[in-house]
Structures are given as C-alpha cells and as structure tokens.
C-alpha cells in the first residue's frame, strides 16, 4: 500500500475507533478503568441468574461505603471454570454461585481464601459443607423437583406422583419429560437425586424402569418446560402433552407471580418426594484486589436484607434462620422435608462416569 492509501486507512481506523468509543460512552459501560476509587469498589463475579434489588445494594453501600460492581459470567459451571482458569489474577473479589455439585472442584483448585463470615452462627449446620475451614459461605438453597400440571391430573381424576418410585408406575406412562444430565443443571440434579435415593447400585435399574415407562429426554430446561410441559404457557400454545417435568420447587410460586391476574392456586404443583437439594455458596477469591470489601460483602450476603431479597429475585430459599419468606412462597411453595443428597466429594469423583452411564442407558 502506498502512503496516501495508508493515510486514508489510518483516517478510517481513527473514525471507526471514534464510533466505537462514542458507542461505548453511550452504553454507559465501564471500560475496565482503575483509579483511586478502586478500593471503594468491590466486584462480585457470578452466573447469569444472579439478581438483586437495587435498594439492597444501595443499603450495602450506605452501611460500608463500598459500591458493588456485578459481573455476570455465563452459566454456573462456566462461570466457576473461568475463575479456576484465571486463578491468582481474578476478575473480581467475591465469587457467588458455586453449588454442591461443583463445590469439590472449587475447593480442590484452591480458589478461595478462608474467611468466617459474621453471622454464620445463624446458618443451619447441614448446609455448612466446609465448616472446618470456611473457604466458602452458604448463601441459599433450592430444590430440583418434578413439577406437575394440576389441570391435567384433575381432569384425569388421577393422583399426581409423589416420589421417585411413583414416576416409574404404569399410571404415569409417557407423562414425564426430563433434561439431558450431560448439558443441563436440573437434568444433572435429577440424576443425582435418583443416585441419592436408590444408591450407586440401584439407580441404573430405576432408570431402566423410567425408560420402559416412556420418559422423554430433551436438551435443556427451556425446552422441557416451555415446549414439552403442558402446565406452562409455552407448552399450552405448543399443544404439549407431558404433564410432568423436572424443574424447581420454586417454579409454581413463580408461575403465580408472572400471571395476570394472579390466580388463587398455582397452575402447577411439586412432587415433594422427587427432589435434590442444591446449596449455593460464595467465597473470597484468592488474589482479590479488595479483600476488606470482599469480606464485608460476604457478611452482607448472609445478612437479613440480602437473604430476604433473594426469594423473589432468584427464586431460592434463604439459609439464615429467621429470614422471612414472602407470602407468595409460603402460600404457593412446597416444603421439601427430605431432599435426596449426595456428598460433594462423591459427586466430584463419579459425576462424569454417572453421566456417561446415564447417557448410554437413556440417550440412544
């Protein structure tokens, strides 16, 4: 290229960058700038489902003087793996959203600096899976359970299933849709629930029964719930014919919340004997630039304000005793007394092997 053309190109480049810069300003985005105020900002890295009310974050700033910057980093597994890859030069100070299916991977990789959050004494013992070292702090729990379409079972005068064993009965033939355990977190949770219930020796036999009973496997929650499940808005429009789906215990209250006008009874119910409990943790990242701010944020995450704000934002349950649940949850939610559990270390060791066996059993 000759000099004149090069000059023209340079001009074009400058103008293109100008456009970009203008757009960047217009977007009100933060171009990763660091100045003297950095120590007054604490950065929370989380998955895409993280949500919190603005007022609650403002209250934190008023209490502590720190402003919270939230970075969303993909789904739960992806977000965690990114932190493991960038260990030592993390993108933030606190990471929220490691659940019990991924906990061992996070701990084995030494991702977190131990810190005992203030107020941990009010958190139930059974969710404190790292009570010795406090590398992670439990923040919320949620249950993955089979949901049923109330209308379908009322019309058929059939009692909805209650337990894992019920699902394999002839009365419920061809009614259940589940997610792929290899690619979907509720799918994996449901598989782990069956492992926890029937043991390592028995879960494969159970799935053979489910298979014989016409279980349908689709790729992800969106497809299972919105396309195949007859109890959802999308499913009704698509003429879906499966009244049982693997979803969450909090799905029925959410169905009520997002209906106009709000019905007296949720259109869906929960089979409370088909649940696997997920516990979500937060931790202070190794190499955090703002450790003091990160610790203050961890204290705040198990404080009443944040705990009581979570249910209607992330549709999860608080872990702090005495945190009030909104009426929507107490009225339409299900109480799961005995969820299935599997030890995090066992999950870490066997997960891939289980998923592989499951795939060859069910996905053909």
């Amino acid at each position: 290229m000759n000099s004149q053309l090069r000059r023209a190109v340079a001009m074009a480049a400058v103008s293109a960058l100008g456009v970009t810069a203008l757009a960047a300003c217009g977007g009100g985005s933060d171009g990763g700038k660091s100045d003297g105020t950095a120590s007054k900002t604490v950065t929370l890295v989380s998955h895409d489902s993280f949500a919190v009310s603005d007022t609650v974050l403002k209250a934190f700033t008023e209490q502590t003087g720190y402003t919270v910057k939230v970075l969303k980093s993909g789904d739960a597994g992806t977000a965690l793996n990114k932190e493991i890859l960038t260990k030592g030069s993390p993108q933030g100070d606190v990471f929220f959203g490691v659940d019990n299916t991924l906990l061992s991977r996070a701990l084995d990789n030494d991702l977190f600096t131990p810190y005992e959050a203030k107020g941990l004494d009010r958190v139930a013992d059974e969710v404190q899976l790292d009570a010795e070292k406090h590398r992670v702090t439990p923040v919320d729990t949620g249950d993955i359970c089979v949901n049923y379409d109330r209308k379908y079972f009322a019309e058929k005068k059939l009692a909805p299933p209650k337990t894992f064993a019920d699902l394999a009965k002839p009365a419920y033939k061809d009614l259940l849709v589940v997610e792929n355990a290899a690619t979907s977190s509720p799918g994996l949770g449901f598989l782990l629930g069956t492992v926890g219930t029937f043991g390592e020796a028995g879960w494969q036999d159970y799935w053979k029964k489910l298979e014989a009973n016409g279980v349908k496997v689709v790729d992800g929650w969106e497809q299972a719930y919105n396309e195949e499940f007859s109890g959802s808005a999308g499913g009704k429009k698509a003429g879906a014919d499966r009244p049982l789906v693997v979803s969450y215990a909090s799905s029925p209250p959410v169905e009520v919340l997002y209906a106009e006008p709000q019905p007296d009874e949720a259109p869906t119910g929960v089979a409370t004997g088909t649940c696997f409990r997920q516990i979500e943790f937060a931790g202070l990242l190794q190499g955090a630039k703002n450790e003091a701010g990160g610790k203050a944020l961890l204290d705040f995450l198990i404080g009443d304000a944040f705990q009581e704000d979570m249910p209607l934002n992330m549709f999860v349950n608080p872990v702090v005793e005495g945190a009030k649940l909104p009426e929507l949850f107490t009225k339409h939610g299900a109480v799961v007394d005995e969820p299935a559990t599997v030890a995090p270390a066992t999950i870490a060791d066997k997960r891939e092997q289980w998923v592989r066996s499951w795939s060859s059993l069910v996905v053909k």
């Binding site: 757009a23 970075l71 890859l85 290899a182 790729d219 698509a238 029925p252 106009e260 996905v363």
Partner: protein
C-alpha cells in the same frame, strides 16, 4: 495487510494457541501422546463422522434450495424485492433457543406438517438439516446473488446469438463466472453447519452430538482442557482440509469479468416460465423462512385475554416483581445496536483491508493469510472465549471485562463474511481499468475511489449487512465475556425464556419479534443507502 494480520494474531491466534497450549502442556512437558489417545476413542470418531456428514448434507441442501432464490433476487425486478432480500436474512439473527420453538411449531407435534400430512420430523436428522437451510439461506442468496446481479447479461446473449442453447450459454458463460462466489457460499455454509451447536442440541435431541457440542462440554462444563485441546486440533485439521479444497477450486475458477451496475441487470420477469420460477421461490421462502418467524410473532400477540399488545407493553416497564432486568427490556435494543455498530465498523474496516491486500498479491503467504481469516468460523466460540480469558489478562491487554471485547469477538465472525463477499468482486475488476486511470494521472487512492469503489460498493453494503446481522444475533461472545449487566436482545430473550411464568414467555416471544423487526429494518436501511452518498464513508 499488516493491520489485519496483527488483529488476527492478537485476537484470534494468540488466545486459541494459549488455551490449546494449556491443555497439551502439563508439568513442564508437552503431552502429544494425548492426541492419539483422545482421537482414537470410538465415540470421538463417531462424533466427527456425524459432524462432517451433516455439514456436507446441510451445505448441499442449502445450495439446492437457495440458488433459485439467489437468481430470482439478483435478476428479477418485482415489487417487494428489497423486502424479500431483507426478510431472508432475519433468521440469521435469531437465538437458537427461539428458533427451536419456531421450528417445533412447524415440524413437531401438532405442527404444520403434522396437521397436513401427519409427519413429525423433530428429533430426526431432517429437523437439523432444515433448520440449517433456514439459517443459511441468506448466506447463499447474498453471497452468490451479489455477484450474479453484476454480471453483464450481454455476454450470455452473445453466446445465444452465436448459436448456443439457453442452458449451454448459461453453463459456458455464467456458471464459470459464478464459481468463486458459489465456492465462497458453500464454504461459509459448511463452516457454519460444521460448528453448529444449538440447532443440533435443540432440534436433534440429546442423541445427536457434534464436535462443537463436545468441545463446549469438555471446556465449559468439565474443564477437561487436554481433551478439549485435542478436539480443537481435530476441528482445525478438518477445517484446514476444507479450506485447502476451497482454495484449489477458486484458483481454477477466477477470472476477470465484466461487471455492471446491478440496476441494469434486473428485469421484470417475462413469460410463464419466469413467473413460475419467481412464484416457487416466493413460496419456498414463505414456507421455510417466514412460517417459523410468523409462529413467533403470532405467539407474541396471543395473550390470555385474546390478541393484544400486553406483552409488548410489559417490555417497556421495569418489572417490580423480580429483578430480572434493572432497566426495561427494550433497553436491550440499544445495547444490541451499539455492539452491532461497533462490530460492523471493525469488520468492514479490517475485512476490506484484508480483501484489498488479498486482491493485489498472490503467493503462498497470501493464501495462508486468506485461510487464517476463515478459521474463526470453524473454531468453537468457547475455545476463543476461554482463550481470551487466559491470554488477554495482563496490561496493556487486560481486556477481560472490557466492553470492547464483545464487538471484537463478533468481528472475528463478521470479517470472513466481508472478505468472502468482497473478494470475488474485487478480483473480477479488470486491472487495466486501474492502469488506465493511473496513466491518466490519477493517484492510486483516486483510482481506487473511481474504479474499484463503484464496483464493490454493492458488495461492501451486502458484507456490512452481514457483519451487522452476525453481531445482532451473536450469543456466544456475550456469554463468555464477563460483563456488567447490559444484556443484548438475544441474551434478554434467553433470560426471559429461562424462567417459569406466562408473562415471561410472552415477553420472550415479543422481544424475539422486536429482534426480527430491528434486523429487517436495519438491513432495509442498508439496502437503501444511495451510491452517490456513500463515497465519503469508507
């Protein structure tokens, strides 16, 4: 050439090399033994075989169905032509989650085919192939049609006068001239379908798996970097092979052509045969492309209280119920347009520089560079995304949480389009025209402006439209790059679909319809840019 090479080195080659290197480098030594170990697994070979044959079948089917469309849109002048050209590109921007919905309404239970003939194609390979045609129809129409509309029809007429039959004239005159752009379209469709992810997962069901799906799982879910690295190398090898075949085809077929202004080649259809052709193309577009889109639009108006705008109204307010969004969902339109504007600017700038460099030089090095430009289409988004994360993490290039990384990642996919669409046209420009201009005293820049620009302007606009559409619908980069929360349209749609509740579903459908409208409007606006006003823009 230096500019584009540097761009690719920093934003593509370096990150990908970093992540592959991390996977193969263990305890201070290179573990090349892993390559044979992973590549020898029977399930990996099965996945590779399926990936390849479905991509080949999808490419053949797309060419077969879309070529008549390319001809009609290039050569016929009829009312609604511009609209049709914009509409065929709309599928390109839709998130696969939504396309799954639309397609199931067409070919799934109780869908159109089920109603008419009792045929259900979901969870079959046909669903995957048809969805690939749906996505890539525009690639063929725009890439091939762009050149076709500029071929001088008088050459074919001359052959007819000399006694050639209609088909012979087309085969001997027009077809050879089209080979480069046909090859370019085939290559792009192949690369897109070879790295298909969402379509295969959603429409094929869990029984089908492609290399891309495996790489995603090994990287994002299992963090098994060694396996992911080997799979990436296999992907590289396959894509490299295809690029080599493509380069050979094109080298044999390129020649200088007489290009004319597109407005001179389009005529109103004459005679029953041409009207039938036009009718059948319009019918194909209606059934295959418009029907799935119409399903989404219909569901966005279908509220419990009858048809209405309730879901659209809900998009304009901040929902106090749950903090899904801190701003009204319609804000996502602005975010999307900003990203798309930046990505288009980068794509057009880097892409046209690269295309200009590739036009003027020949040789092994140049060919290698040409192939390098195409590679991002054939490499998994998760590989590039994770590569960014470990490669661009130190000053001066700590861009991990920077806004600019998203449009840059999107431009990696946009640039190949710009290059592939412009190159056949640029190479067809007769160098003697440039020489004549120079002899008459024009500076090279002026010669380029007066000779090349008028001829490539159409291609440039088509290319810009594509780069824009790529960015508008792109989902991967925006997910892999940690960012403060300002969701783009596809991200917002996915978020709404990811929660229970009738209002969320309705809003997701409404926002998808908005996304389609934004895309169509932007492309129509691009179509209308008048030649005499563009000369100062690039």
């Amino acid at each position: 050439m230096a500019g584009p090479v540097a761009f690719f080195a920093v934003f593509f080659a370096y990150p990908v090399a970093a992540i592959v290197g991390r996977g193969l480098h263990d305890g201070g030594t290179w573990q090349f033994g892993r390559i044979a170990e992973v590549a020898g697994r029977p399930e990996i070979l099965r996945v590779l075989w399926f990936t390849t044959w479905q991509a080949l079948a999808s490419t053949a089917l797309t060419l077969l169905i879309a070529l008549p469309g390319a001809y009609v849109l290039a050569r016929f002048d009829f009312p609604g032509r511009r609209l049709l050209r914009a509409v065929v590109t709309v599928p390109f921007v839709l998130p696969t989650v939504v396309v799954g919905t639309a397609f199931l309404a067409l070919i799934g239970r109780g869908g159109l085919l089920d109603e008419l003939w009792g045929v259900r194609l979901d969870t079959t390979v046909w669903a995957i192939l048809l969805a690939h045609v749906f996505f890539n129809y525009a690639v063929v129409v725009r890439t091939v049609g762009g050149l076709w509309s500029q071929l001088d029809p008088r050459q074919e007429e001359a052959a007819r006068v000399l006694g050639a039959g209609r088909f012979t004239a087309w085969r001997r005159v027009t077809l050879p001239a089209l080979v480069p752009s046909l090859a370019a379209a085939a290559l792009m469709v192949f690369l897109f379908t070879f790295t298909s992810f969402g379509v295969v997962q959603i429409l094929g069901g869990p029984a089908f798996s492609t290399l891309e799906v495996e790489i995603y799982r090994q990287t994002a879910d299992l963090l098994d970097l060694p396996t992911a690295a080997v799979l990436t190398l296999i992907q590289f090898a396959a894509v490299g092979l295809v690029l080599a075949v493509h380069a050979r085809t094109v080298r044999r077929g390129e020649s200088t052509l007489r290009l004319v202004d597109p407005s001179r080649t389009a005529r109103r259809p004459r005679g029953a045969g041409q009207w039938t052709l036009l009718g059948s193309v319009v019918a194909t577009v209606l059934v295959l492309l418009v029907a799935p889109l119409a399903v989404l639009a219909e569901r966005s108006f279908d509220t419990p209280g009858g048809y209405g705008l309730d879901y659209y109204r809900a998009l304009t307010v901040v929902d106090s119920r749950g903090a899904t969004f801190l701003v009204p969902p319609v804000e996502a339109i602005r975010n999307s347009l900003e990203y798309a504007a930046a990505a288009t600017a980068v794509s057009v700038l880097v892409g046209s520089l690269a295309a200009a460099a590739l036009t003027r030089r020949a040789g092994r090095l140049t060919r290698g560079f040409d192939a390098l430009l195409m590679l991002p289409l054939g490499v998994s988004a998760v590989t590039v995304g994770f590569g960014f994360l470990i490669a661009l993490d130190e000053p001066p290039l700590d861009l991990r949480t920077s806004w600019i990384l998203v449009p840059l990642a999107q431009a990696l996919v946009g640039i190949p389009f710009v290059v592939r669409i412009m190159l056949p046209v640029l190479r067809a420009v007769d160098t003697r025209l440039r020489e004549a201009a120079s002899v008459l005293g024009a500076s090279p820049l002026r010669a380029w402006r007066e000779v090349d620009l008028p001829l490539v302007r159409r291609a440039l606009l088509v290319a810009a439209g594509f780069a824009f559409a790529v960015s508008l619908g792109e989902f991967g980069a925006t997910v892999f790059i940690a960012r403060p929360d300002n969701p783009t349209l596809p991200v917002a749609v996915a978020r709404l679909l990811g929660r229970p509740g009738e209002l969320n579903y309705g809003q997701a459908m409404a926002l998808s319809t908005v996304l389609m409208a934004v895309c169509a409007a932007a492309l129509l606006a691009l179509e209308r840019i008048r030649p005499d006003k563009t000369s100062g823009e690039f």
